[in-house]
Subunit: 80 residues, 2 copies
């Protein structure tokens, strides 16, 4: 089953948004992926259409980019 | 009591994000404010720290700017 995934990079903007979302989405099944640590997920995030983190990839395929922590392109350049 | 407010401007990005958030936040008490229609709320949104719509102003004072529909500055210039 498709699920909601929260992608972040451990930065301060990401952590703040994560805490707020955990509060808002407390009843939802959300996977938390730190792209700074789990670099094997960077390509998947790019394919889903992520431009920056933090972002929520919804089960319906839409991406919600929330505030701005880091660009995905920069993370990919740095990590791969 | 402080509450969560979703500010938008009726644009296509706003409508899409609104639909996704309504699904995600179905158990939350959220006020929906269309700043394109309810221009008396523009100043309040600016004071809260909104830079663009759509955005969620949380009860804890944090602002979640979600994707990008329009800048608040532009809306204010256009409406006031």
């Amino acid at each position: 089953m498709k699920k909601t995934i929260f992608y972040h990079a451990g930065c301060s903007v990401c952590v703040s948004v994560e805490q707020d979302l955990m509060e808002l989405l407390k009843n939802e099944n959300v996977e938390y992926v730190n792209l700074n640590e789990d670099i094997s997920r960077l390509e998947e995030a790019k394919q889903l259409g992520l431009k920056s983190v933090p972002a929520l990839a919804l089960a319906n395929g839409n991406i919600l980019h929330i505030n701005f922590g880091a660009s995905l392109e920069e993370l990919i350049k740095e990590k791969i």
